[in-house]
Each structure stands twice: as C-alpha cells, then as structure tokens.
C-alpha cells in the first residue's frame, strides 16, 4: 500500500487507528430515490391506505399480497421494454430476479398460480412498495407505493366502469373530487397497426412513442425517422457487404434466392457454422429481411393516425363523434368508441362527473399489456396520481389456462398524499395519542399504568410519561407533541383518590375521581376526535 511512510508513531495511535477501522461510526444514508416514512408522515400514509382498502372492500375486492421479489421473466413477457429497462434486476446465484416494478403482473401471476378455479370475476386489491430505477424528481421516487385493484375474468364496459368508479370513489373520500380522468382505448391504434402488418416489436415501438407524440405534436416527421431507424432502416447502408447480398437476393426473386443462397455463401467462403446459430437459420433470416417491405410508410401512417386521434380528443360529447369520424376515415371498426361511450354512461351512473372526464384515444400507458380501455387520473395541478386499464391477454401470456379478460387500476400513494397536501383537506391521521398520562414521580407510576390500561381498553390512545420530570416539563411535552389532554397523577392526587385532567387547548384543569377517570376522559377525547 502506498502511504505506508506515514505510520503511526506510538502504540496508542496504533490502537486508535485500529479501533477506527473496526468501528466505522459514520452516518449511513438511505439509498437514493427511497424514503424513510417517519412520524407523523407514516401515520398519514397508513390512514390513507387503510381508508382506500376499506373502500375497495365495499366493492367486493379482497386483499391479496405478493412478493416484492419476482423472477425477472415475469415482467419481460408483456410489460414492455420501457419497464424492463428500469427494473432493479440482478442475478442471485444464477437466477434472474428483480424487485417488482408494478403490481398487476404479480397479481396475475398469483391468480394463475392459485385462483384460476374461482368463479369469476375474481376481485383483488393490494397495497405495497414497487421499485423503478428512474432519475428521482419531485414526486417521483425509486421506491413508491401502489394501491389498487384488479378485476379478473370479465370483459366489457361494465367491468371497466366499475374500476373507474372505484378509482373515482377513492379520490372522493380523500377530498380529491376535483381529480380529472383521461379515458382512452388502445383498440383503435392496435387494430390499425395490425392492419399495417406490423409485428409485435414494431407495434411496441409505436405504442412507446404515443405519449411523446401527444405532448409534441410537431414531431411527427422526426418520430417516423427515428422509429424506422430503430427498425433497422439504414443499417444496411453502413454495411456494404450485407447490402450487396440483400440486393442480389432481391434480384433473384424469393424462390431462386433460397435455392442459390447456400451455394453462394459457400462460394464466398463465409463460414456460417462458426457462431452459435445454424447456417440455415442465418440464411432464412437473411432472405426474410431482404423481402421485408420498408416499414417507413406504415410508420408514417400510424404516427399520422395517432396525431388525428389526439386532435379529436376532448370532453366526451365532442370527442366521441369526432373519433367515430376518424376511425371511419381509416376504415376501422368503431368498437373502441362504443366501448368508451358505454363505460362512461355506466361510470356516470356511479358518479355524475362527466365534466371531469376527457376522452383521448391517443392515450398510451407505459405498460405494453394494455389492449382496451385505459385511463389516467390527474389532480388539479395536472400531476398524475393513478391510472389503469384493460389487459385481456396478460393472463394467457403468464400461463393462464383459458383466455381471461381483466382490468384494474392503481394509485401512486405518495402522489395521492401529495395532492391531498396541496388541496383544501390536508391528509391527517388520528393515530397519535390523545392523552398523556403523567406519573409525577416513580411512586405514581403504578397508578398511571393502571389508568392508562383502563383508557386503552376504552379505545383511547394514551402515552405514559416515563421520565418522572414533574408537571411543568411534562405539560411542555404534551404541548409540543400536540396531545390534547394531560392527566397528572402525583402523591397528593393519589391521597385524594383523584386525577388532574388538563385540557391543553382550553387551559382548563379538572379534578376527577379516580374511579370515574377512565370513562370521563374517554368521553371527552371522543368529543375532541369528533370535532
């Protein structure tokens, strides 16, 4: 090691250096993008979560929990490249594992593993941490909490509407009734892409740019060029030999090319058997590529279509007829529009909130498994606080026995709470103590413990002071911790068989007989809680 010439001079210094290296006492920070949820924030979070889960129960959704740790493959099947690139994935003893980036795929995996025999719909709700490796920003963390539902086994607008209603209701009980819903449907775009003959890779690329296109409508040309490049247009120019070969094959026509390809490559002294792919594999794919049409016109049409959908977006009564028109122009079935229309009629029956709904068929969510009605929820300041939709193929993709339509949604809990904090009814929690029971000295502790137990049996949250610091210091503590009542017990009180109840806000003191203390204080604190 370098630096050895600065060896400690004395034995004492040796000891100090040794101790320092053995006991590192520097502060350890949490991992970037994660949060410690400390009091009182955790109480708020728990209370919001509990209220939402209780509401989900009212709609018949049952709780489920799944592991945070999942096989990476689960999210590679159908969640899409965007998610895959942002996962915390790692190899542990030669297995590919990841921290779940979202809940739906996990819930569906659990459904396929355990619940396929249940009568449908299987309604499930969940809450828990999810992880994505993204640049942390305000309101965006690498560990965040999803709270949501999945309704498995029923297709169509009735189920879509129920999920929309649950999402709406949850926000209403949290004082966020002004939240805005943007409702879309991926059916239109998917049908067009299929008509254009795009394979799933190309479809996935197009769906991936929908969000960007709806934010930057002027970018259509550039986006088409970029997508074409991603699909390999122009790659051959950089590789003259491959380009020449492809030209040759094209000149021979499909049948001739297949026949001569093998001979030709042998003549060219290209040894195809060296790598891990078979020569016939390589030749076949080469031919396939040579006859694959240029994807650019298809991409241009798709991007243009998405632009038209975006232009037609708006409040339902205007957007729905305009969208019908666009689909007709492109020779597409208007089923997506009909489904959205029907779902919104049902949704309106649950909650009349048509003025807070916006229809936009160019809405695409970050996940690739969605294939029907999708929606996103925004607070008043246009921060996204939740979203969901229909994913009818996911159950099959994850090994389900039968085709099983399904839909669901989730809130980003941190974002919901942030919205509440910005709103008129800040999130609060009534988890902390409403009374501080203070034994003035150690002799009074037993009496305090007994009273505290009696209060707790009546459902009153009680803190017992453990420091015997006397009345003044204890009252200061109650004041600072915002505990509305303090109950003082000292030698004098015990002798008189009373306790001293102090209302911290009214600055009032009352002497209450010990026997009645629990009942009376419980009543008083309940009144406070009710206010």
């Amino acid at each position: 090691m370098c630096g050895g010439d600065r060896s400690p001079a004395t034995l004492r210094e040796w000891h100090e250096a040794l101790n320092e290296s053995r006991f590192d006492t520097s502060e350890i920070q949490r991992v970037r993008g994660t949060n410690d949820i400390v009091p009182p924030a955790r109480a708020v979070q728990r209370s919001v979560e509990d209220r939402l889960l209780a509401l989900f129960n009212l709609y018949g959704y049952e709780p489920i929990d799944t592991p945070v740790l999942e096989p990476t493959d689960l999210f590679l099947r159908k969640s899409g490249e965007e998610i895959a690139a942002r996962m915390y994935s790692f190899t542990h003893w030669n297995r590919n594992l990841c921290l779940r980036p979202e809940f739906t795929a996990s819930v569906i995996r659990a459904y396929v593993n355990h619940l396929q025999d249940r009568p449908v719909p299987v309604r499930l709700h969940y809450a828990g941490p999810t992880f994505r490796y993204e640049k942390p920003q305000r309101g965006r963390y690498r560990q965040f909490t999803e709270v949501g539902v999945e309704c498995i086994g029923v297709g169509g607008p009735a189920a879509d509407a129920e999920v929309l209603a649950v999402a709406r209701h949850g926000l209403n009980i949290l004082g966020l009734s002004n939240a805005r819903f943007v409702v879309g449907h991926l059916g239109a775009v998917l049908e067009l892409l299929t008509q254009l003959g795009m394979d799933s890779g190309a479809q996935s690329l197009v769906l991936g740019v929908m969000e960007h296109l709806s934010r930057e409508p002027g970018e259509q040309q550039r986006v088409v060029g970029r997508l074409a490049a991603q699909l390999g247009v122009g790659d051959e120019e950089e590789n003259p030999e491959a380009s020449a070969l492809a030209d040759l094959f094209r000149a021979f026509g499909p049948e001739g090319a297949e026949r001569i390809a093998g001979d030709l490559l042998e003549q060219a002294n290209l040894r195809l058997d060296e790598g891990s792919r078979s020569p016939s594999d390589i030749v076949q794919r080469l031919l396939l590529k040579a006859y694959r049409p240029d994807p650019t016109p298809g991409l241009a049409r798709a991007v243009e279509f998405i632009g038209r959908l975006r232009e037609a977006a708006g409040p339902p009564q205007e957007a729905l007829p305009a969208l019908r028109q666009v689909l007709q122009e492109y020779g597409l079935d208007d089923a997506p529009v009909r489904e959205v229309e029907q779902a919104l009629i049902y949704f309106d029956a649950y909650f009349a909130c048509a003025d807070r709904v916006h229809v936009n068929l160019s809405l695409a969510r970050g996940l690739r498994y969605y294939n029907g009605l999708v929606f996103e929820v925004y607070d008043e300041d246009d921060n996204q606080i939740g979203g969901g939709g229909r994913y009818d193929d996911l159950v099959r993709a994850l090994g389900g026995r039968a085709p099983t339509p399904a839909c669901g949604f989730a809130y980003g809990l941190e974002r919901v709470i942030a919205a509440m904090e910005r709103g008129e009814q800040p999130a609060s929690a009534n988890g902390n103590a409403v009374a501080l029971v203070v034994p003035l000295s150690s002799e009074d502790y037993s009496a305090a413990a007994e009273l505290a137990t009696r209060l707790r049996l009546q459902g009153v949250a009680v803190e017992v002071d453990l420091r015997f610091r006397g009345a003044k210091a204890s009252l200061r503590h109650a004041d600072r911790a915002k505990i509305p009542f303090a109950v003082l017990i000292g030698g004098q009180e015990r002798a008189d068989n009373v306790v001293l109840l102090r209302d911290m806000r009214a600055f009032q003191e009352t002497r209450i007989p010990t026997a009645d203390a629990a009942g009376q204080i419980a009543r008083l604190t309940r009144e406070v809680a009710a206010v």
Binding site: C2, E27, A85, N96, G232, A242, L270, R277, R285
Partner: protein, 359 residues
C-alpha cells in the same frame, strides 16, 4: 431538508489530510502515452528507474506518482488511497455509482481513445444493426435460449441492451480472450474495448450499426473528500489542472509571426483583420521593426497571430496577401486563460457536494 453527510468508506476515513498529493497513473497499456502527456503539460514524471512504482513530478512540489493497473485506479481514487488518478473513461463509466466519491475533473486528455462495441460473429450476415439483434434475442427466447453476451463491462452493456429494446439476454462476466468466446461457443457475442478493430476482425467478429456502447479516452479523476479536506492538496491540484488544461488548449493552435510593411500600426492592423483567417484569438499583436540598414525605406511591423493548426496554409496565404514576408510558425506550449476553468468547476462540484441536499 438536511445537510447530507455521506457515509464514507473506512479507507477514506483514516486517509491522511496532509502529506503529498497522490496521483495514480496506469502502469500498463496507457503508461507511455500518459508519461508523454504529462511531459507535454510540463509535469514530467521523474522516476529513478523504469521499474520503480513510485515517482515524483519535478515541477510541482509534493506530488507522489504511483503506477497502478488502469482498472484499479478508479477504486483506489474512490476509497481515497490516492487523491488523483488518470485512467480510461470506460473504467470510470463502468465502475462509478451514484454514491461514489469520485469526480471526473478533466474528461478528455486527448489520448487512449477507444470504443466499447458489440462484436458480432462475421457469420451472422443477416445482422447489420441493433434491431436484428433484438429480433434474434426474441427468437432465442421463443426457443428457450438466451442471447449470451461475454464482457468485462457488465453494467454498461446491460444498460445499453435494455435501452435498445433487447431485454432477453444473459451476461457472461469474463476477462481476457473475450474475442474468442463466440468461436469457442461459450457466448453468442461480446462487448469489448477496441481502438482499431483489428483484434475483432482477427477473431472473425464485426461491429454493427448503432453498436457502439461508449467512446472513451484517458481522463483525470479525483477523490472529492481528499481535496475538500486539504487546502494544500487542492492548491497542488490547481497547479496541475492549470498546466494540463492550458496545454490541451494550446494543441490545436500555432503562433504565426510575420513582417508586414505599412504606414502606421493601425493601417497594418486594418489590413490584417480584413483578411479574416488571420484575425487571431482577439486580434493581431503589432510591434514596430527597426530596420538594420538606414537605407531600408518604409515602415516594417512584426505581426503575431494565433491560428488553428488545420488552417495554417490559409493563414499563411492570407498574410501574404496582406503583404507579409518572413513568416514563422511556432508550436504553442500553453494557452492560459484568465482562470483554470476545470479548477473552477472542481470547486463548484466540491461546494455542491458539501451543501448537497436530497430532493
């Protein structure tokens, strides 16, 4: 919001605040180029014999140079057992993390250039770009196989493949003789450093469109804590940065001096500036020439301008058109500006680190 106190590694914790500024330079591969670079910056490494692993820089007091493997230098700087290091940017990019203690002080030292590229078997004649690779990965996956990529650079390679829609693959971490992996059959392709592509071709591998993961050259890195704690080390760093930065800045330029005849300095200046190519960094410097023989009529002036090396011929021609004779061109050793900007950036980074608050 609380002021961030980073957890420091033990080694950093006990590292001395005093003593010489410790600079690690690569002992293999980039050794010669690094010594040439430092000499060109006026920071010659003074080593009593070439097998010594420790040396001094004769022009800056109290700098201890150690020779280390390029791959180890990032970790040595990060743990604080050296203060500064010169290594390849590829190593820094691969090993760095969000909580490390390393600052890239000068990102481009102008040598040691190389690229981290995907090397594909030449026999895969159907593969010309990344899209082909993503299709092959998908078809492998459909057959229950994974695309196997052998590399020393697992972090960079993983992120690159994910970012380009290739998400079904396995990485084989291996070092040495990577190029043979596809032929030997234990990997389908490789991601490796290349400067000329010769080794790739010799092993019947090729590059593809968009297949460059990273371009790299030698860079100077520093341990934040070591410099933040010791004003002496920081000052010696400033001296070295000033020399390196000014030397790098000087490289593309030549200094031209020419004798020009003209009435007054102003007239000469106008004459020169009107030929744009030779306007210099700010404008020409003009000095009176006192002729040897009194019969020499007319007024001669010496004009000095700085021109870009690749525009030398144009500048000479422009000077000729302006009536110049006796044109000399000199290589510049340094161009010092009013401040060493990389040092200013370093100070800002250290201040930001000290006051850093978490979002």
């Amino acid at each position: 919001m609380s002021v961030k106190m980073k957890a420091r590694s033990k080694a950093t914790h006990v590292a001395a605040d005093t003593g010489p500024l410790r600079l690690a330079v690569p002992s293999k591969g980039m050794e010669d180029a690094t010594l040439v670079f430092l000499r060109a910056c006026g920071l010659p490494v003074d080593r009593s014999n070439p097998r010594q692993y420790r040396a001094r820089i004769s022009t800056v007091r109290d700098v201890e140079v150690t020779f280390q493997r390029a791959g180890d230098i990032f970790n040595k700087v990060n743990e604080g057992s050296v203060d500064l290091g010169i290594t390849g940017y590829d190593v820094v990019a691969e090993y760095r993390n969000e909580d490390d203690r390393v600052l890239v002080v000068l990102p481009e030292l102008g040598y040691g250039r190389c690229s981290l590229v995907l090397g594909i078997p030449e026999s895969w004649i159907d593969v010309t770009g990344l899209h082909d690779l993503s299709e092959i990965a998908a078809s492998f996956r459909a057959r229950g196989r994974e695309l196997r990529v052998a590399t020393k650079y697992t972090n960079l390679t993983r992120q690159f493949l994910f970012d380009h829609g290739i998400n079904s693959f396995s990485l084989l971490e291996s070092s040495g003789a990577l190029e043979a992996a596809p032929t030997l059959g234990y990997a389908d392709l490789i991601a490796d450093i290349t400067s000329s592509g010769v080794t790739l071709r010799e092993n019947r591998l090729k590059t593809i469109a968009g297949g460059t993961i990273l371009t790299s050259e030698a860079c100077l890195i520093a341990n934040k804590d070591a410099l933040a704690r010791s004003p002496e080390k920081l000052e010696r760093t400033r001296v070295m940065l000033d020399a390196m930065e000014s030397s790098l800045r000087a490289r593309p330029y030549l200094s031209l001096t020419a004798n020009v005849q003209g009435g007054t300095p102003e007239l000469v200046a106008r004459q020169i500036v009107s030929h744009g190519e030779v306007a210099g960094l700010r404008g020409p410097t003009i000095a009176r020439v006192f002729p040897k023989s009194p019969e020499d009529d007319g007024d001669w002036y010496a004009v000095t301008v700085i021109v870009a090396r690749d525009r030398l011929q144009e500048a000479v021609d422009a000077l000729r058109r302006a009536g110049a004779a006796d044109i000399t061109a000199l290589q510049l050793s340094y161009v010092f500006e009013s401040k060493a900007w990389s040092y200013e950036a370093l100070l800002r980074a250290l201040a930001h680190d000290r006051n850093g608050v978490e979002a």
